[in-house]
Amino acid sequence: MRRTGRIIRMSDQPAHAESVRAEARSFTREPNGAAVPDLADQDGGAFFCTQQNAMTHRQPKLPAQQGGRLRAWMRGLLAGPLALVAACLIMAGGALWVPPGAAQINNLVLPIVLFPLLWSALFLYACLDRKLGRAYAIIGALAVVNGLLLSLHLIR
């Protein structure tokens, strides 16, 4: 059940699928009645409505849903605090491995300048990789490598 690994997974429930599609269609009607492909055309707007419908109707939870909720939390944990920690470690570690350049300051300045991009990239990657385990492994590896570099440097 790979799709249950997304942030919100209620759209897997067939009971709500049709209402979702209908809502999406209603968003994309031209005034003359012609259907227009746009954001909502991609079920985007409906994506969350499905979750809300599910919340409103309070249906009994299926085991797959409960597992999916855990995955969502795990993904949120990775995309939020863990990606931030990893970005901080990469930034700090960058002071050790970024070439300092002729002015001897690039290793101090570039990690700070690029930190927002770094965090954003890790955040988006953590949200988008369908294989949550792989996302944990890659972000974890980046964090651990830089953490080890920092530890060795500080111990010395």
Partner: protein, 536 residues
């Protein structure tokens, strides 16, 4: 534009929407205050002009005598560094200080600051203490400081405020990227805005079209803003820990160029006016900041910063030997020689502040900021509209209306307290903060009691318009300069800001009283959701 798989598109839209709706209100506050902060210097000149003609130079000739005279009045420990820069209305600020760790253990400055008349060099004010205490005593810059503090740190103490605004910048950056990727017809829809009966379609179009046009600058402003917030709150402490055992002063010294060898022997500083004239001729730009380290010692150095010269986006500084006035080097923003890192840091300033091309670039940046605020607000309203069948989201929609239209009103009302209480002992930040919160509370009452959200929007917009029109009146009534007097003294900021406030005020009233928008907002009628009747 991008053909992503359906699943990824869904996820990105989820990120786009939820990051916007969870952090959007705070982000909206940061953007709104940022729009006003672009003209911070002009606002200060408008709020606190000097009552006579002033000089055009930020650091006018005659400064040399003033520095020597005032240096004798302060404790020599504060000769460690003298910073000279322009204040409100052309006033001169001279801060004699030393670098220390503050009561919270973080590096800061402590010393004495003088505020001088730029023509007579007579002292207008004297402030002492830690830098934060000195800043709180600067009454003349109160109006802009209140806005800038809200923009930079939401009035939350450092480093947490900076951290929060940094995260908001990241959220905006993520929203910009995801917005770009999920919009499949970015170019085709650039001009399609349908303001019809379908409220969701209308809100989608106004959000998407504004967001599409604003995309490049939403990213740039978010990235640069996030950099400024995180650099001091996270980046510098972390790198100081790694490379200098936690000594941030050592990191600053490395970044600003290796300090000179210590030589505490007394030596008279050369003529500062001559240094400024030399920097002016080398840069073809007007000096606007002077730093003198180790004043009165043989190892003293003077560093002059200038406005950006024409065609330049990255600033330089000019370094001189203190005792002899010999030119040492032209320094990049960081380090002693050009580098990629220094250039990138230098670019951050003009890209974020828009202050590189005078009033034209500032006006464009205000427009971009306004568009950003509009995109944020319409995005939140769209998100709430799509979920309006749920009571919680209807309450959220009301709250978004409250913040979206109430915040500008509270911001406009804050300077009223500044003008009315400017001669009292109450700090400008306190009086404006109280006024801001009072108006916010009154607006909250209006938001709760006004059932129709379109009416609430109109009332708040009308109140904002009236408040904007009233500001010049209150400024004049509390002893402010008249237009003719200001023009005679060459103080263009007074009539220009007054006129801008009146134009925006009239525009707000025009929107508030204009054709009623067909909101089709739902109301609870006997337990059922029912759309409001279409207004005419």
């Amino acid at each position: 534009m991008f053909k992503l798989p359906r699943h990824e598109t869904k996820t990105l839209l989820a990120i786009h929407g939820w990051s916007g709706v969870l952090l959007g209100l705070l982000l909206y506050a940061v953007i709104c205050t940022g729009v006003a902060a672009v003209f911070a210097s002009e606002l200060n000149d408008w709020a606190s002009p000097l009552p006579h003609a002033t000089v055009s130079a930020d650091l006018p000739p005659g400064l040399d005598d003033a520095i020597r005279r005032l240096a004798n009045e302060v404790d020599p420990q504060f000769h460690e560094e003298v910073a000279v820069y322009r204040g409100a209305g052309g006033r001169l600020n001279l801060l004699f200080h030393r670098h220390e760790n503050g009561p919270d253990g973080r590096p800061t400055e402590r010393g004495v600051e003088f505020e001088l008349d730029p023509v007579s060099f007579a002292p207008l004010d004297r402030r002492e203490g830690w830098l934060e205490e000195i800043e709180a005593q600067r009454a003349s810059t109160g109006v802009a400081d209140f806005l800038v503090n809200l923009h930079v740190r939401l009035h939350i103490p450092d480093p947490w405020g900076l951290f929060v605004t940094g995260v908001l910048g990241l959220a905006m950056m993520v929203a910009a990227v995801t917005g770009l990727v999920i919009h499949r017809h970015l170019l085709r829809d650039l001009f399609t805005m349908r303001l019809g009966r379908d409220a969701v379609l209308r809100r989608r179009d106004v959000h998407v079209v504004a967001g599409s046009w604003n995309l490049p600058f939403a990213f740039i402003l978010a990235f640069t803003g996030s950099f400024f917030s995180f650099a001091t709150s996270v980046g510098l402490p972390a790198l100081a820990m790694v490379k200098f055992g936690g000594d941030q002063q050592a990191l600053f010294e490395t970044l600003s160029g290796a300090p000179r060898a210590e030589d505490p022997r007394p030596a008279r500083l050369t003529n500062v006016d001559a240094i400024l004239a030399d920097a002016r001729s080398r840069s073809n730009a007007e000096p606007n900041f002077l730093s003198i380290t180790h004043y009165g010692r043989a190892d003293s150095m003077a560093t002059v910063y200038t406005e950006l010269p024409a065609d330049e986006l990255v600033y330089s500084s000019y370094v001189y030997d203190g005792p002899t006035g010999t030119f040492i080097r032209e320094a990049p923003p960081m380090g002693t020689r050009p580098s990629v890192g220094a250039s990138l840091v230098g670019l951050m300033y003009p890209l974020h502040f828009g202050n590189f091309g005078g009033a034209l670039s500032k006006a464009v940046w205000v427009g971009l900021g306004f568009t950003g605020a509009y995109v944020t607000l319409t995005g939140m309203l769209l998100w709430a509209k799509r979920r309006e069948e749920q009571p919680a989201w209807r309450r959220m929609a009301r709250f978004i209306h409250y913040v979206g239209y109430g915040l500008p009103l509270a911001l406009v009302c804050a300077p009223y307290a500044f003008f009315i209480l400017r001669d009292s002992d109450i700090p400008a930040a306190t009086s404006q903060g109280v006024a801001f919160l009072t108006v916010a509370a009154l607006t909250a009452v209006a938001a709760v009691t006004t059932r129709d959200m379109d009416r609430l929007r109109r009332r708040l917009l009308a109140a904002t318009g009236i408040a904007l029109l009233g500001l010049p009146v209150v400024r004049l009534a509390t002893g402010g300069l008249g237009w003719m007097q200001a023009l005679e003294h060459g103080i263009a900021a007074v009539p220009c800001v007054d006129a801008a406030l009146m134009i925006v005020g009239v525009a707000s009233l025009w929107v508030a009283l204009g054709r009623r928008v067909r909101m089709a907002l739902p109301t609870r009628v006997e337990g059922q959701i029912k759309s409001e009747p279409q207004a005419t």
